[in-house]
Symmetry: C2
Subunit: 330 residues, 2 copies
């Protein structure tokens, strides 16, 4: 299945994820939840953190590197997510988490991480293979939500979130229009309010991986205390995508009644993506599908392949060499 | 004192901060440390988090907005930092933290936050007035480290960190050379490894506020899983500043032996800032002084004022109106 088709089938992929078995399930009453993962696998933790913000009274901490902070320890519940199962940074951090006595749940489709989890009988979900990691978002995210529900920590309305993924035709049309607006030649700013920070980063990464363009994220209100100053001179983005939460929150008012106005006064082109869905999970999934499809459409308009990620492969190969030397030295 | 002079005097300012009284000191055995603050005040939390990474076994959580997560609650130690004391987002979050029964330490020079803290006898440090918030970094940071030491949580080698701030002439020369390199007309990427993520954001913000240019941050290794793809096409930064930790860590090797090489192959101009100092606190302070001085020099080279922050003032005025309506509605 091509990347575009994988994304278009997200509704069914999410349903499939809900049916995957949690192997070697282990009860735990943690005092902290941590996520280890990078790139398309790492964004899952950001999404879960956003979803937990108002409903879980345990700290949710995200690790996007090989080093664990000292506060991930015995009593921590750790999710190690790597779609490929071969992400070295994740493997290093997982070994450390296990050594510290954390309860580690593994979500992966294959690779060294799967072997490691099976050998140690770590609680885990084995995902279907054959997807691009960024297209496997529903597989990883809904597996994770399933585990959190089984542990009695978070129980979200999953059914409701899937509604927004049903009308693929409509979503394709929104994405197509957005891609047209993104053709403008500039490094775009993706602007979201703090509740939807994770979605802004997903959008940026989709533009990186699929359309092969750089992008920057600006998160309201923090960006109003520094990034906004970058627009006073002439070295600035001339195109912004504003992720509008489509609600009555103060942050939405700041975006609509100040940020967008201000950018337009400065002659910055503004594209708005109004998030559909009745709750945060739905809005995150809707936004992710649009961002994926828009960046794929943008790639196609530029005549390039949205599928290949040559530079990432080059990095991974070099890291394998560098890390092996480093591990011997330390 | 002009902004440049304030920054050049950081060595003495840090010493002064260590002598400020902690009023209404309160013992606490927290299970979480949270920082509330935005912009030049908010970066203090990021720095402390980086400093705590390997030495504190309590989760350190950063809030750069008005909403607190559910996991900040009774038993949490909260630092509310606003140099001006009038940052609305911080005021909203602080009231919530107090309502939840967290122990709130206030670090401010003035404003509503000082009144609030004095009226409720919250433990606090009253800072000297008259600085730009971004120039008051040592005042805020070392006050905070002082409190953490008094609480028995973290005790860093403060003396050693001040060494790097002594040789202002050398630091000015390094900053001047960096500013010259930054004159190139592009949105620069500030690239750091995960240990120095906070410094990359400080650098970006200094460029925003002082030099009035946009910049983006790319954090290794996460950026190697997405941002790196943005360089394959022609919509990318053509200038990168690499913050080199100047040590033997795997991450430094990735930066030197892969990232810099890769960027140069792609014809991206690379400026490197090698961090001086014998520990992380020293490196953070050295890097911050260079970044401040370089961005001020860059402003001067462009013939603009590094001092004024007109757009931020415009935002704050509008927020005051929007928030007052919202608070009445909710």
């Amino acid at each position: 299945m091509k990347l575009r088709e994988q994304i278009e089938a997200w509704h069914d992929l999410a349903l499939k994820a809900l049916e995957l078995e949690i192997q070697d399930f282990k009860e735990v009453k943690p005092n902290l939840v941590a996520f280890i993962g990078l790139g398309g696998s790492g964004i899952v933790g950001d999404f879960v953190k956003a979803l937990c913000y108002d409903v879980l009274d345990l700290p949710v901490y995200i690790v996007k590197e090989a080093r664990l902070p000292k506060w991930v320890k015995e009593g921590s519940l750790v999710f190690a997510i790597s779609y490929s199962g071969d992400t070295i940074e994740t493997l290093i951090a997982v070994e450390d988490a296990v050594r510290r006595g954390s309860v580690v749940y593994v979500i992966t489709s294959n690779g060294e991480l799967l072997d490691y989890a099976e050998n140690r009988k770590l609680p885990r979900v084995k995902l279907d293979e054959g997807y691009a990691p960024r297209a496997a978002l529903p597989l990883m995210l809904y597996s994770c939500l399933n585990i959190l529900k089984a542990l009695g920590l978070v129980n979200l309305d999953v059914e409701r979130s899937l509604e927004v993924l049903k009308d693929v035709k409509d979503n394709k049309a929104v994405a197509e229009k957005l891609a047209q607006g993104l053709l403008h030649n500039s490094i775009p700013a993706i602007i979201a309010d703090a509740r939807f920070e994770a979605l802004a980063w997903r959008f940026k990464s989709d533009l990186n991986e699929n359309a092969k363009i750089s992008a920057k994220c600006e998160i309201v209100p923090e960006s109003m205390h520094n990034d906004i100053m970058g627009y006073e001179g002439n070295r600035k983005p001339t195109l912004a995508v504003v992720l509008n939460a489509n609600d009555q929150h103060l942050y939405t008012k700041i975006l609509e009644e100040f940020v967008e106005e201000h950018l337009r006064e400065l002659k910055v082109l503004v594209e708005e993506l109004r998030l559909k869905g009745r709750d945060m999970l739905a809005k995150l999934m809707y936004g992710s599908q649009i961002s994926s499809l828009a960046s794929i459409a943008l790639a196609e308009k530029q005549g390039i392949s949205p599928e290949a990620t040559v530079s990432i492969a080059k990095y991974k190969e070099r890291l394998r060499k560098l890390a092996s030397v480093w591990i011997r030295l330390s």
